[in-house]
């Protein structure tokens, strides 16, 4: 069927923008294409996207890109200023900061990725269930959410990591545990606005089960605001991870996690500024990237933006 369309209307672009798609697959591709066009019109969002893609590429190609071993100490080369040999200088153990930065990207990506794929679905599930069923289910789930929301994120994460023990896995777990409540709130609010809608009742009259309604009909209505919120929160997650690393509760030495690197460099901040500043800048740039990406996604996905 697809090939037929190719023949009758040559060109991938025509196939994508056809207003009478011939198959589910073509219709889906066409919509993705239009969303992409809209996204590319936002220059700042494109900057954000390139930063995030850059981060992913650096993670994948770290062994090729890094000029030195990130863990190899060279005490004769301690705290060298940025120069031709070490672009970003070396730290207090003589390790190349650029290499540590490149290898550290994977931890940032790991933190953000794991938190996003655990906290967002959890919050979505809790929020939609609470909003959909109402009554005591709502009361119980939302009071639990309120308890989590009552503490500042970093403090709660600190408490969890201290209880679980320091380490990057526990830091990720702690961030995930503290990140879901806002998603549950958003999902619940969206659910309540749509749960009495005619199209939900119509679906019920088709014999759709409660689970089917939540997953197939309610969740799509929550997704756009949730995706935007998650991407905006990613910057915050990086910062909390960095904060935990800085306090020695996240990544443990000699792991080149960016927050831990800032923490190591703080003793030399006045004399040898680059040790702490360079990983700090990396955190800043990546956070900014996720923020810009989230802003751009909001424009494409926000239902109130009109599509």
């Amino acid at each position: 069927m697809n090939t037929q369309t190719h023949i009758s209307k040559p060109g991938l672009k025509n196939w994508l923008t056809s207003d009478t798609p011939q198959s589910r697959f073509q219709a889906q591709c066409g919509r993705t294409w239009l969303g992409w066009i809209k996204f590319t019109e936002n220059k700042l969002a494109m900057v954000g996207l390139s930063i995030v893609i850059g981060l992913i590429l650096v993670t994948i190609f770290a062994p090729i890109l890094a000029p030195y071993d990130p863990l190899a100490a060279d005490l004769t080369n301690r705290i060298q200023p940025p120069g031709a040999e070490h672009w970003f200088g070396t730290d207090q153990l003589g390790r190349d900061i650029l290499s540590r930065l490149i290898y550290g990207a994977q931890y940032t990506l790991l933190i953000v990725g794991l938190v996003a794929i655990t906290a967002a679905p959890l919050g979505l599930l809790v929020g939609t269930a609470a909003g959909f069923f109402g009554g005591w289910v709502d009361a119980v789930l939302m009071r639990i959410t309120d308890i989590f929301l009552a503490f500042p994120k970093l403090i709660l994460a600190l408490a969890f990591v201290s209880a679980l023990g320091p380490g990057i896995e526990n830091a990720i777990l702690a961030i995930a545990i503290t990140a879901w409540p806002p998603y549950a709130r958003i999902a619940r609010a969206e659910t309540i606005t749509v749960r009495k809608a005619d199209y939900i009742e119509a679906a019920r009259l088709q014999g759709t089960s409660n689970l089917g309604l939540i997953i197939g009909h309610i969740t799509p209505m929550c997704m756009s605001s949730l995706v935007v919120r998650v991407t905006l929160d990613m910057a915050g997650m990086i910062l909390i991870a960095a904060g935990l690393g800085f306090l020695g509760l996240g990544a443990q030495p000699p792991m080149p996690e960016w927050g831990a690197m800032v923490s190591d460099g703080r003793q030399f901040l006045l004399e040898q500024w680059w040790v702490a500043t360079v990983p700090g800048l990396a955190i800043f740039v990546v956070s900014l990237g996720f923020n810009l990406l989230g802003d751009g996604l909001r424009d494409v996905l926000d239902p109130r933006g009109g599509d």
Binding site: A202, R204, L205, G207
Partner: protein
């Protein structure tokens, strides 16, 4: 096909249906008329199980309905909602809207069924992968009718199916509904505040006010205005258009 007796329903403390009795023969078309808030839509919603708090007997196809409706019920009875802008999921394509009931009931062959359902309601296949917001009101209502028909029900509950559409589209949709009833042997229960629509579509009519059926009539009686109950008279006059003298003579019947 449908026998309802002594039906009472409540929304919290509001007693919205009071001893409603309705009987619809197979392949018949029954009209419920009344002003807004008279409880006519609630009758349909109670039949489909969207109202929790009710008492009385509802027999559909000689089977007594319990508090819960099962899948076999939804294959027998389907409903078309009033507002076609609200009854179609804004993030689902027409294709998905029509495919889903087929999959839920495990009917199989969804591709052919969707094409057939669109064909039945006179929509071109080109609409299949569009979103509801890319369709006009009349087209949306056709999709809603197609969705109700795809499960091959015997009974169609119509909740003011044309009141959200403009006049020229109303006639189209009414003709479509009339044709479908003849072709598929459907039984209709239609709710409307438009007396002309009901007189055109239905054989038997009940006039409701404040949750009670005040009068039963035939389509001819409704068309001629030979109604007996004073409230029915009042409704008939009101349908004639705005007239200050008529409006001043209105009383609240309870």
């Amino acid at each position: 096909m449908i026998e309802i007796s002594k039906l009472n329903a409540w929304f919290d403390d509001n007693h919205v249906l009071k001893d409603v009795d309705i009987s619809v023969p197979t392949n018949g078309s029954f009209g419920l008329v009344g002003e807004s808030g008279s409880g006519k839509s609630t009758v349909l919603r109670t039949i489909t199980g969207l109202v929790d708090d009710w008492e009385g007997n509802i027999l559909v196809n000689n089977k007594e309905l319990g508090p819960k409706r099962d899948k076999t019920f939804y294959r027998l009875v389907q409903m078309v909602f009033q507002d076609p802008f609200g009854s179609l999921h804004p993030r689902h394509t027409i294709d998905r809207i029509l495919t889903e009931p087929v999959n839920i009931h495990g009917l199989g062959n969804s591709d052919a069924r969707v094409v057939e359902a669109l064909n039945q309601v006179g929509l071109d296949n080109a609409f299949r992968f569009r979103y509801p917001h890319q369709l006009s009101g009349g087209q949306r209502q056709r999709v809603a009718i197609a969705r109700a028909l795809i499960l091959e029900p015997k009974i169609l509950l119509l909740d003011e199916p044309t009141s959200a559409l403009d006049v020229s589209i109303q006639a189209e949709v009414l003709n479509l509904l009339g044709r479908l009833r003849r072709e598929l042997g459907l039984t209709y229960v239609m709710v409307s505040h438009d007396l002309a629509v009901v007189a055109h579509m239905c054989d038997d009519i009940a006039i409701m006010n404040h949750g009670r059926i005040v009068e039963r009539a035939t389509a001819t009686q409704l068309a001629d205005g030979t109604l007996e109950h004073p409230y029915s008279q009042q409704l008939y006059k009101a349908a004639g258009g705005y007239d200050r003298a008529v409006v001043d003579s209105f009383v609240d019947w309870d």
